[in-house]
Symmetry: C2
Amino acid sequence: MLENQSLEPTTNGYKAVGHSVRRTDGAEKVRGEIRYAGDLHLPGMLHARPVLSLYAHARIKKIEVEAALKVPGVVRVVTAAELPLILEASESRKRNPLAKDEVIFYGQPVAVVLGETEAAALDGANLVQVEYEELPAAIDLLLALQPNAPLVRRKEGHGADLEAQIHATIEVKAEKEKAVLPPNVSNHVHFQQGDVEAGFREAAVIVENTFRLPMVHQSYLEPQVVVAAPDPLGGLTVYSSTQAGFSARRDVAAALGLPQNKVKVVSMPVGGGFGGKFGLLEPWAAGLAKLVGRPVKLGYYRMEDLLAANPAPACVIEVKVGARADGTFCALKARLIFDTGIYPGAPVWLAGMLLGSYYRFDNYEIEGLEVLTNRPNSGAYRAPGAAQASFAIESQIDALAHALQRDPLELRLQNCAVEGDLNPSKRPWPRIGLKECLEKLQQHPAWQHRATKGVDQGIGIAVGGWPGGLEPATALCRLDHDGSFTVTTGISDLTGVTTSLQLIAAEVLGLKPEQVTVHNVDTDSAPYAGASGGSKTTLTVGAAVVKAAEDARKQVLEIAAQYLEASPEDLELSEGKVKVKGLPSRSVTLQEIANLSMSFGGRFEPVFGRGSSAITRNAPSFAVHLARVKVDRETGEVKVLGYVAVQDVGFAINPAEVAGQIHGGVTQGLGWALYEQMVYDETGTLLSGSLMDYTLQTAAMVPPIDVQLVEIPAPDGPFGAKGVGEPPIIPGAATIANAIFDAIGVRVTEVPATPERLLKAIWSRQF
Amino acid sequence: MLENQSLEPTTNGYKAVGHSVRRTDGAEKVRGEIRYAGDLHLPGMLHARPVLSLYAHARIKKIEVEAALKVPGVVRVVTAAELPLILEASESRKRNPLAKDEVIFYGQPVAVVLGETEAAALDGANLVQVEYEELPAAIDLLLALQPNAPLVRRKEGHGADLEAQIHATIEVKAEKEKAVLPPNVSNHVHFQQGDVEAGFREAAVIVENTFRLPMVHQSYLEPQVVVAAPDPLGGLTVYSSTQAGFSARRDVAAALGLPQNKVKVVSMPVGGGFGGKFGLLEPWAAGLAKLVGRPVKLGYYRMEDLLAANPAPACVIEVKVGARADGTFCALKARLIFDTGIYPGAPVWLAGMLLGSYYRFDNYEIEGLEVLTNRPNSGAYRAPGAAQASFAIESQIDALAHALQRDPLELRLQNCAVEGDLNPSKRPWPRIGLKECLEKLQQHPAWQHRATKGVDQGIGIAVGGWPGGLEPATALCRLDHDGSFTVTTGISDLTGVTTSLQLIAAEVLGLKPEQVTVHNVDTDSAPYAGASGGSKTTLTVGAAVVKAAEDARKQVLEIAAQYLEASPEDLELSEGKVKVKGLPSRSVTLQEIANLSMSFGGRFEPVFGRGSSAITRNAPSFAVHLARVKVDRETGEVKVLGYVAVQDVGFAINPAEVAGQIHGGVTQGLGWALYEQMVYDETGTLLSGSLMDYTLQTAAMVPPIDVQLVEIPAPDGPFGAKGVGEPPIIPGAATIANAIFDAIGVRVTEVPATPERLLKAIWSRQF
């Protein structure tokens, strides 16, 4: 399975964890047999098709629905006024699914047509006529930042309180700066240490650049889709592609004014989320179902998902760094400007914090601005803010090394953050593996042989770090009659984590993986787990599973102790049996224990383990990447010849899956570096609104990826494991940009590094 | 709701338990909005229609399926040979759903037709031609008991091992008697104490009678129905009307040779079970689904359910009792012969044990025989064996009182069992409420005014006791974001117990009932609970819910203690808040605690209570009933004018539901007494095979029922509650028979006491 990987897992004598196994849901997925939310067909279900705005900013003068209603099978056309959602004080897209009076981005849903069939709904949607009065729009990020830029919303109507709210937010965060912030700025952050100007005065070299990243779409295989079904007693069941079941339950209950126990969210198998499915369509679909009293399926087509979901934000990052002659970094000054689209919520704080956190700078000043524009609001995308920050800072470190004529890896080793260093949020890093990852790459043949390279080939390296999310979680572990165990959690599985949880429980219980089944169940009966995101599921839910399985094991041993008339300390559980140590003939099987505790007249309590975790120490994880590229000077094409991804994963529960996660992350990072961008014209119209225009890599475009694991255990993680999902996407853009510089001496400051951009840069140097 | 009831609940200051509330599923049910298993329609689902045997015992010579297969929409005709079930060593109907080579009861399924529609399957089933060679059948119970009776199965073929097995069983139980047992006897029990013949020599009066009870059907509103759906990875989901989800999972997994974690049983809302739905069609439906790889719905029509389910067994009970002149009982001799139908499993042990347990007899000898006949095998029916035993013994106690010229209630009080008395299983009764129930009835106006009665009116009383079932169980209790709680269990709700569990959790948590939701979930994620039967669900699962809610409350207080910087002992939880005692301003709401423990970065573990129970002390419950009847000497009709049901319920969690249970039980007891019987002719053909012939009461036929509760707490029950389901059916037949005797001096020894039988008895006395 992983023949060509040198994963070197540290199995430490473990029998289940640390060994590569296939995903429990793999067969079902590759055979096309799994059922996603979009595959559901409930009796009486209506299909919903949205009508999308053709303007980035306009007043809605009239919505003509007569023609649509005449289409056979069209049941209803619903506009914002009819949707039974509670909108008060809501600042989120999911609570405002339909434009009211005013459209505020191109592609915004204005109405929705419900049909007995998808075809009827689609025909109806095509016949809904919306009359608009165009309004000035704030599209370009830097123009939107200007004090005299058009406001993203008119002051009257449904967005009336926005400006007040903006200032209220800022008041809290930076009272003194309130007066000077332009009207479309919705958040402002500031990190500072030392005296940055004094720092630059110490510098032997200073490099200064401005970096630009576009809006990028998460490009999950499965677009967002929700089926909402009202129940006869006023509640709702919501089947969703979301990665955040409990959060969707809260959203729907709040939006509909229902108690939460009236809403059941079934997290269906997720066809990719990457942060983009933290909840978007659920209240909308639920509102439609409530309105018509029938099940409603509301799903985006690919183009709709590109137009009207929640992509990663575009940004502009100005970075100036200085180093002393001895290579120590002395000053960093940065300004990050994030395009949050039409609602606040871009990861500007996190980007600013991370930008200043990988290395020790005695003096820094980092400022972040979040700017509203008439574009779709930004959402999370795998390591939100980190890919952007790393592109900027890691390009600059490379430039510093070049200016100092230093080995860029050595320079990083000299300055990299280690345990105890304060990051810009003024919290000390715990034990992290950045240094070990750098050292591991330093020993790697790809780095060792970096001098051996062909014409226009280059080697680039870059760092990516992720603080790791935390959220309390509970898991359950039930003994079954046949001596197997069932683990229950409330997660959505985006990444194969179910298989990891299976291995974790099997290890604790001394069983084979197939003797443990993991069920991730709906919000009616699941123990709590947060959204699957932030690289926290294995860490936090895995820790809960360890405790649940330990609890179950303890109960097993207690029953066995009574049954075998032995002390629990003298017993051992392995291979489905509890044995008295040294007396293998005195034993009782798990099946017998199940029957003693789960049958008519049984005298023992059922074995039912519960474990909870509330980890409060972050388990940050770092990745260091290396790429070897060849640039075609005639076409501007960059070919990635080889890629090495070193990552500290704490402990690889299922090395195959860890490698799979890293492959996926690297591939997405290469998308940022070379291919992907949502291109808007000056009116705010999306030009790359289909997969014909928005370039996703095919398998043939992905280089061989050599995954190298470092295992610095997380103290609270299961068997030391850390989250692994986020880091592998982070260094991609900088790694490729640095390799291109090494190949042809051109510093890429805007990604994707398309042939067009590269050729322009090459030509501008030639003439 | 209960205006005309004198329930006198002991609320003891409780706020939730002890107060009558509506059932949580009541509205849905009365509005016809609940969906039962029969209402499911899965994509691609086939409909199954059985072909039933026309003989009680015959060899199957040929099954012609050609004509059936030509019906448009018929997909397949399946016989036993094709059904992929593992039959080895199976002695149960559910593992042998289709006759193989030989039919052994009238109505036995011989084949099943699968159709795209129900109509196609039905047309197909009507065209399947089965050629039989009739064999001698054992139909009449006493004839089947004869040493030379026809064997219920030929020795060859699928039932070959039966005879050997029968003797093996008996060998264990009564080695010495092996030689004398006739071939169709499948079980034999024996209870003895003292010297029964010596006992009778002490007697001043002796009465001896033989009592007969017919096979009676549980007559649930919803016939048995199962939908089985294969999943793409070789597992199955089974949606069933069963009252025993985990047991159905075991049956299906064993029958199909699957690990249990490949079978998910969804216990659908049950439209009445009364013991008859402990699993019957599940492996059959699962086998069909596996065979064709499509979902299959297999449900009985009413006539099929009458023909081929598992009704209560018929029996003949000979009882001789003697009392001394002072009224003390000195001797009991009884022989119980139970017709178990075609598979062993009749409740003859329980009937024999109960028959000798209500009163102190110094000397007794009780023998029980279970006899195989060519009739459908017996199943459990509300207090299996107890209604039969009580009819016999309570009629005899009435006859003794008459012979002694004693007040029958006084005589019972003089002799009734109390705590410490040994029952025939040689176990002492724990604290029971039989005496208190008799005393309560003694004070009741219906008894006090018993002398005031019209022409041909009579008053009868009788006792019914039930030992109560026990089974370990687990329950969960989760705090939700809105400060409400969700309780999860693995039960099926037949009786409104969900509402009782809600009240129990609300009481422990100091909340209003509507702030607790109870979900009874499928076997994939449910904590273990046994079948809902044996009057054990409230007792055992209720005890687990108490502990789960207490566990959740403890966790809430621990979080609050840290948050409020107080000691947990100084805190109190009520009305959704934790307050510092004496300092009401220092408080934290459950909603705040939920957010502290279930949100990104939260520092406390989620509140998730778990509670298990493994009660080992039975909580027997007794009922004493009184009926006032009027007998029409011209028509033989018995009219029940009034009915009093006194019952020790331990503690009435939801008095309205307890009363509802007792109303239902009394009504079914009246069915046994006066109306219900499955009549077979001498060839084994069921003559009362539809509700036109099998008499169920209509609402107008049910008398007013005065429910009187006695509350002798069960030490392990939640708030002292005992199971209440079984006792109210038990005394019915004897109560009515004794009232008839009081009215017209006719001793009814065979129920139902139909007009035909009564007239015969009246006439035989007149001439």
